[in-house]
Subunit: 269 residues, 2 copies
Amino acid sequence: MLVIKIGGGAAIGAGGYVNFAEDLATLDQPFVLVHGGNAEFSELSRALGMPPRMITSQSGRVSRYTDAPTMDAMLMAYCGKVNTRLVAALRARGVNAVGLSAIDGGIGVGRRKPTLRGTEDDKPKVLRDDHAGTLETVDPALIRLLLANGYQPVVTPPALGEEGIPINVDGDKLALELATVLGADGLLFFSDTPGLLADRHDEASLIREIDASDPEAALAAAAGRMVVKVEAAVGAISRGVKQVIFSDGRADNPVTRALAGEGTVIRAR
Amino acid sequence: MLVIKIGGGAAIGAGGYVNFAEDLATLDQPFVLVHGGNAEFSELSRALGMPPRMITSQSGRVSRYTDAPTMDAMLMAYCGKVNTRLVAALRARGVNAVGLSAIDGGIGVGRRKPTLRGTEDDKPKVLRDDHAGTLETVDPALIRLLLANGYQPVVTPPALGEEGIPINVDGDKLALELATVLGADGLLFFSDTPGLLADRHDEASLIREIDASDPEAALAAAAGRMVVKVEAAVGAISRGVKQVIFSDGRADNPVTRALAGEGTVIRAR
């Protein structure tokens, strides 16, 4: 069983749904698809007069401020447009897909952090009523039930906050936690790059393989934002996921290519 | 088991989600919730510069023209905002809700009618690339699986067209077909009126009871748009649904009140 995360970048747009669906229809094993929707979310927010507000924390982490109307836009983009279009594209090709948000059936529950502190355009800001949070628990019961009955779940953020309202959680973390708790044979991440790059401005600097059994060497090979991804992948492998692959979501047959080793393959040698 | 349809009118807005969720949390039997989203859909379309275009057919039926961008707005409003907000409100009150569109798991498949003919503002029009259609088959397997495992499904249009694209189908018909195929003990319709009215301008003209065992008398009691509703209700009862109730979605405890007989109750005496 595979967990497959499709990033929500601009390169994986309308054509991307069909591209992934055609490839996934040829897959000979069950899968759980997790997806983002950031490009659609930003486009919709802008069209509704709510351009993204990015806040940089003291530690340098950049977060999008999500007040209640922005959360509605997130629900509309992620759960409404991207999830349903993906499910329709999959079903049209014979995949028995079921679309879910992590709210459904209690898949993902998290802790809301209503106050967002940091800088916006280099000015200090404290923003209240943020609807973002951290994923705390993942319950795979609903996903297991669907897989056992021949359905392929397609899952998207948000999760449910402890107070019962939707919260914006990281889609990569959702995929990681699901892969771990489900004991996935593989966890595949697709985005707008060929994989993990030693130099993020140079697609030719692709790192082809990372040995998860030597975490220190693995982390030494990683730079910048890559460190978090490598750390998370190594952690998932130490918890039983067989391999983690970062690969190009813009390619034809992206899943087939990734399983053939195109991209960055992280496993324990 | 009940099938409960909540109309998408303006009166059942943000407060409505919580109002229904609080009442449904007290219900002592399984249910399938079907909902509309028309007011949210129209508001979003207008905000995105696509105001609703209404076409009147030769027979007097009014349809909303749904091109591809308008279908995206429908997905965002129905599947994104209304469905997810309802599920979150239910889960926050302890109901084990799972949100679905009728596309998921093949619940609803229909026939698309890509050409829409009629008049728009009294001018004859032929509009191509309409994404509306008629529900043809309902497959309750996924809903049965969820109910049997303690989940309460929350289902919304659209359905999947035979060519594999989402189509706008009637939510009332979806609820009727689901109630019939599931053998529901009751089918409850909630909208912005107290029930079926003999005079649609006068809420005091509520019809309290209709005897489904005498269809001619039942239809004689109906007027205008009500005829279609009474016909559909009588049909559902003849196919095994125990009772159909039309009731007020704006009231407190709307489901409890409807089950206590507030509204129009249609059953075979």
